[in-house]
Symmetry: C2
Subunit: 299 residues, 2 copies
């Protein structure tokens, strides 16, 4: 167990490099985690959507947590994604993550048959019974297609180990209003994801940012987050501007596909996304390359 505040500041989400059969390359993963520890991120978000948790078996997810924990333990809090379709499996994954050295859990209401609010609540309730680790609600409608009703975060925040929520960017961009509303109804630490909203979210006073790019190029992202945390809007917005061409590729191709291309370009390792997800084609890679090359020295 690592002391620290897993749900404050920059939570960096690395890829989980794996072979075509879904076997995790723990060596490359440990190298990515080491890089995050050295950069001084506030937490590591292992096995998030960027960490392809949905595509890995229970055994491989455990191997990934063990590898990351071995490298990061005592240095940076490790937040581990335990979402999956079945409640019993999510409970198993939570126990596995705790046993393998996780400091906190992150869980989305993954679904195939669309879930009711009660069903999602009971899924969280069961998982908080399986592990006492602090848990962050992963509100990610872009992948789960589950919509949190206005009451659900408040109900969930009364479960003693649920401490945080990771939100998508607000549709109208009104971080201030949403933060006030969530803080008025819950005790949860409120963070956001969707990297192109990083500067705005942190300048509006979000507790945390859950960053995809930060999982691979942590130094640059940390500079932006620290500037925003210090209230230096000018510097935060300047860096956001520098990153704009890269955010454009995230929006066009999906951040996951872009990150696999960056991993290669940055010389950090080679891995393919899990099929059916395909690597970017030559034209798209060129665009990513042009956007990321100027950033690599400061990444």
């Amino acid at each position: 167990m690592t002391t620290g505040t897993p749900f404050r500041g920059l939570s960096a989400f690395p890829l989980t490099p794996a072979d075509e059969h879904g076997r995790v390359d723990t060596e490359t993963l440990a190298r990515l985690v080491e890089r995050l520890c050295e950069a001084g991120v506030d937490s590591i978000g292992l096995l998030g959507s960027t960490g392809i948790y949905a595509y890995l078996s229970r055994e491989e997810r455990r191997r990934a947590v063990e590898a990351a924990s071995e490298c990061g333990r005592g240095r940076v809090p490790l937040v581990v994604g335990v979402g999956t379709l079945r409640t019993d499996h999510a409970m198993d994954l939570a126990r596995d993550a705790e046993a393998a050295g996780a400091d906190a859990l992150l869980m989305a209401p993954v679904s195939y048959t669309p879930l009711t609010q009660d069903e999602a609540y009971e899924q969280y309730h069961a998982v908080t019974g399986a592990s006492g680790l602090p848990l962050c609600i992963y509100n990610n409608p872009g992948t789960t297609h589950f919509t949190f009703g206005i009451d659900l975060p408040a109900r969930l925040s009364r479960l003693p180990t649920i401490r945080a929520v990771k939100m998508p960017l607000p549709a109208g961009g009104d971080f201030t209003g949403e933060l006030a509303s969530l803080r008025g109804r819950t005790q949860l630490a409120v963070g956001y994801s969707g990297d192109w909203g990083m500067a705005d979210a942190m300048l509006a006073g979000a507790d945390a940012f859950y960053s995809v790019l930060g999982g691979t190029l942590p130094r640059l992202v940390l500079t932006l987050v620290r500037a925003a945390q210090a209230g230096d809007a000018e510097e935060a917005r300047r860096l956001d501007g520098v990153l704009q061409p890269l955010w454009d590729t995230f929006k066009t191709y999906g951040s996951l596909r872009v990150m696999y291309a960056i991993l290669d370009v940055a010389g950090l390792g080679r891995a393919e996304p899990p099929r059916p997800i395909l690597s970017l084609k030559a034209e798209a890679r060129k665009q990513v390359l042009a956007a990321v090359e100027p950033l690599l020295a400061s990444g």
Copy 2:
């Protein structure tokens, strides 16, 4: 291998009864399949969404196919759902289904990270390379959240084993226009699902109806489908009217939850949906009971 036309007429989708750990109750499943064979449905849609394919392991999916095949072989064509997140796993499931006695495959572009049109195409392409069984495209945006672009069914229909498409009900209810459009662009047999659209779809000349209720109460549903196939609009619409209270519960609670309640009420077996999906509460069960009791004698 059973001769017949798996993608014409009534394809009946039974539940896959399983215990709380996802172990399939093959005895109850075989009883449901036997009931479908006796009723004379045109095909059995095993491991569809109603057959909770997304919640079962590879091993249990194989056990389900074996049990159904043992009971139904030589009598009714068996269409088996092989959708899953990873391409390699979908290929394994297709090979397993063929080896265990399936006559045809059904596959939805299941996703977590939203898929591009090319990625979905390549997933189908890979699976048609793993098994030569005829395959039905499962277009089910309510669960997969994947939207088929206008060109994708046409591209897929050029793959030699892809023979059919299972469509959701058209948003505006224009079956005739959609059927003409799909038939103009593809050679696929076109069927629909969403039981409350059954009479309209079949009266409009759809090749098949993929029915949830038909998987448990096949006789009544078959009477409706046969009336529509014979052009007897009056009788088809009369039966649709009889079923209206039940369709209302499908829309309110989701057909899957309703079917678990019906299984019990009809005395066909007892099973719970896979958690996080919850059984209906007392008030909802009462409504289902009231809707289904008048139908049980003719089911």
